[in-house]
């Protein structure tokens, strides 16, 4: 079995790319994709840790898998909602550049 640390490094790299994307990209769609990247980094991490843990008797520990599936489900819902918001945003303002959209400022 591959050492756990490989998975964690992969996960960290993916998370870093995602975080950079959220902070640096201006397009709302790309930010959304970066968030997906971060979520998936977390999923990899969870599953890897779960697979490497001692099981209880003959059963493996499924906590990580369950959480990962939760995250995938929620991420799907979130993407749907977020895409809808971005779509409305584009319809109303003709742009998805978040630096142009600062109506929440005080």
């Amino acid at each position: 079995m591959m050492p756990l640390v490989y998975f964690q490094i992969l996960s960290a790299i993916l998370f870093g790319i995602g975080a950079y994307g959220v902070l640096a990209r201006r397009s709302a769609v790309l930010i959304l994709m970066s968030i997906e990247l971060m979520l998936n980094a977390a999923n990899i991490n969870l599953i890897a840790v779960a697979a490497h843990r001692e099981g209880l008797g003959h059963f493996a520990n499924f906590d990580g898998h369950i959480i990962a599936i939760f995250i995938i489900t929620i991420a799907a819902a979130e993407v749907g909602l977020a895409m809808a918001i971005i779509l409305r945003m584009f319809r109303n303002r003709g742009t998805v550049d978040v630096s142009q959209i600062n109506v929440m400022k005080w």
């Binding site: 975080a19 978040v98 929440m104």
Partner: protein, 641 residues
């Protein structure tokens, strides 16, 4: 005698009846007030007869320890408050009670007679006034309150009635409120007397805390047997005197009474000459045991009385408005009564109070008759009116001569008693000044009488008419009183031993004449009238040169020693300005800084802190991440350390 409470109650009942039913009744319900007063007079007559016949064994009566005269007490409970359980009982029990003694009975008589006369007189005088009904309602309320004041057996009830007569006086002075002068005079009268009442109320509270009851008898007892210290007695009596001085227009609170002449003349006759203004004198006479226990307080009363009597008499000499001459004369005579009380002349003061009440009411009604006829008050524009209104002239002259102290008329006897008391109990300076007051009072009375009714008739006044029936009859009745009332001071063998044996303090006083005093006062009075005759009726003597010589003095007197200006300055420069400053303080400091200040600070802090809110998604995301990292590092450090 137990029914004496009915005397004011009739009038109290009349008030709401006139207000509610008045507009639907003939004469707007005026007759209700008159009937109530007449009922009061009848009950009074029965009570007085009953009182004179009863002795110390009558139910509720006894010989008072303080005045040594017959005193009757009756009361019912009003309400009580406070805690009466246990030994630390601390509360007030208030009663509606009446105290009948010679002082009360005599003054009740004065009030009922003069009030009835004035109310009947007003039928003619106020005829056609748009607020005729209200006039009688206020009159009835006044009469009821004034009678209650005199009957009260405890200080609190006295205070209640005291304030009620004050407000009636306010309402009646300002009766013609369309005139700004009447409106302002009413306000001034109320506020000035109210300032005196501050003292009165504190004095009453002081007596209560000393004695534990508002009862007058209890307070007198404490003062008499020495359980009240002399200091307390002095403070309490001076506080009571502050109220008395306000009501009786004593220096320095005399300024409201001349202005009060803005009211209808019958009101001046009743309230500002015969009844309400004597309430102060009555209060001092009533609480005499406390004043006597203090001693020092009586000296103050004497001094204030003398200053008032002298100062007001000088102003009366220069005033040109007929009613104001009478007003200053009232102040001066009230001063004489106070002086007499200060000189242990209890009987003399009460006697003068009655004699002055009848005479002055007569004079005011006479002045009202003149006003009613020619609508003029400046005596310089009048003259010779006796040709067109002979009855008024005759009656006014009786009043003037009586008040001036011409023998046989009532004013002579009472003034004589005062002079005797002053000469016996006070330093010689007092008696000299009192004689001067007596002289001046004859002089200004002569001046008013001769200037108005004698000399040449002003052609404008040729069509003047004499008083109508209701006015003539009432004036005549008061004229009889002014003529003969003084004779009650004499010893009438077999019938009546003189007023001094009826109303007295501690010991009966039989009539006696001190020849030099009676002689001197007669000479002064007669010479003053003769002088006035030559100056104002025959115009033989001109005052122009004297006036020019003492110009500054004349100016000062004519301007009433600048009291009004001085008070006006105090009100405007001190009271109103400080009120305005305090109002500004409330707006600027308490509100704008104290209340709006914190609001402003919160707003400013909010604005200065809002810079980190950019509205850009990525700045929030950066914050989130940095926060996560910081928290992670902290958690890591903690798990390591």
């Amino acid at each position: 005698m137990e029914w004496a409470w009915l005397i004011p109650v009739f009038s109290f009942i009349a008030v709401p009846l006139i207000v509610v039913l008045g507009p639907r009744l003939p004469a707007k319900g005026a007759f209700l007030a008159i009937l109530a007063m007449l009922g009061g007079l009848i009950v009074f007559a029965m009570v007085a007869v009953d009182f004179l016949q009863s002795g110390s064994n009558t139910n509720g009566c006894g010989i008072s320890e303080f005045t040594k005269s017959l005193t009757c007490l009756y009361s019912i409970n009003w309400f009580e408050a406070g805690s009466f359980v246990g030994d630390s009982s601390d509360g007030i029990r208030l009663v509606w009670g009446m105290l009948l003694d010679p002082l009360t009975v005599l003054i009740l008589g004065l009030i009922t007679i003069v009030a009835l006369m004035v109310q009947i007189y007003s039928l003619g005088y106020m005829h056609g006034d748009p607020r005729f009904g209200w006039y009688y309602a206020f009159h009835a309320l006044f009469a009821a309150s004034m009678l209650t004041l005199v009957l009260a057996d405890n200080f609190l009830l006295l205070y209640v009635a005291w304030e009620l007569v004050g407000v009636c006086s306010y309402l009646l002075i300002g009766f013609w409120f369309e005139r700004p002068s009447a409106r302002d005079a009413a306000k001034k009268a109320f506020i000035v007397t109210r300032l005196g009442d501050v003292g009165l109320l504190i004095g009453i509270l002081l007596l209560w805390s000393e004695v534990g009851s508002f009862s007058m008898v209890a307070a007198f007892e404490a003062a008499n047997n020495g359980s009240m210290s002399q200091l307390t007695a002095t403070v309490a009596s001076l506080l009571l005197f502050a109220g008395a001085a306000g009501k009786s227009a004593q220096f320095p609170m005399h300024v409201w009474l001349p202005d009060a002449m803005e009211g209808p003349t019958p009101v001046s006759a009743l309230i500002h000459a015969a009844t309400m203004v004597i309430a102060g004198v009555y209060l001092v006479a009533r609480s005499y045991p406390i004043f006597v226990a203090s001693g020092d307080a009586l000296t103050v009363v004497a001094w204030i009385g003398l200053i008032t009597a002298f100062g007001a008499a000088t102003i009366a000499l220069t005033a040109t408005d007929l009613k104001r001459i009478l007003a200053y004369s009232t102040i001066s005579h009230l001063g004489l009564m106070m002086l007499s009380l200060g000189a242990f002349g209890y009987t003399a003061a009460v006697f003068h109070l009655l004699a002055h009440g009848f005479s002055k009411a007569l004079l005011f009604l006479g002045a009202g008759s003149v006003m009613h006829s020619i609508d003029e008050l400046d005596i310089r524009k009048m003259g010779g009116l006796r040709k067109v209104m002979p009855l008024t002239a005759l009656l006014f002259s009786i009043g003037a001569l009586s008040l001036g102290g011409i023998p046989i008329l009532s004013g002579f006897w009472s003034k004589d008693e005062i002079l005797i008391a002053v000469s016996e109990h006070l330093p010689p300076a007092f008696i000299i000044l009192t004689f001067m007051v007596a002289f001046m009072s004859a002089l200004y009375m002569g001046r008013a009488m001769f200037a108005v009714f004698f000399g040449n008739l002003n052609p404008e006044h040729e069509h003047a008419h004499d008083a109508p029936m209701s006015m003539a009859v009432t004036m005549s009745i008061l004229g009889v009183f002014a003529l003969v009332f003084g004779l009650v001071s004499l010893d009438w063998p077999g019938n009546f031993d003189g007023i001094g044996t009826l109303v007295y303090f501690e010991k009966e006083l039989h009539f006696h004449l001190v020849p030099w005093i009676a002689g001197l006062s007669t000479i002064l009075a007669v010479s003053a009238f003769v002088l006035a005759y030559f100056i104002y009726a025959r115009k033989r003597i001109s005052l122009d040169s004297t006036r020019a010589k003492f110009n500054w003095l004349h100016k000062a007197v004519e301007n009433k020693y600048y009291f009004d200006e001085c008070y006006q300055w105090i009100v405007e420069a001190i009271v109103l300005t400080s009120a305005r400053l305090l109002g500004l303080f409330d707006r600027a400091i308490v509100n704008d800084i104290g209340v709006n200040g914190p609001g402003w600070i919160v707003k400013k802090v909010g604005i200065s802190m809002k810079i980190h809110i950019t509205g850009h998604v990525y700045s929030y995301a950066l914050g989130t991440m940095l926060g996560t990292i910081v928290l992670g590092v902290m958690w890591w450090l903690r798990s390591v350390g």
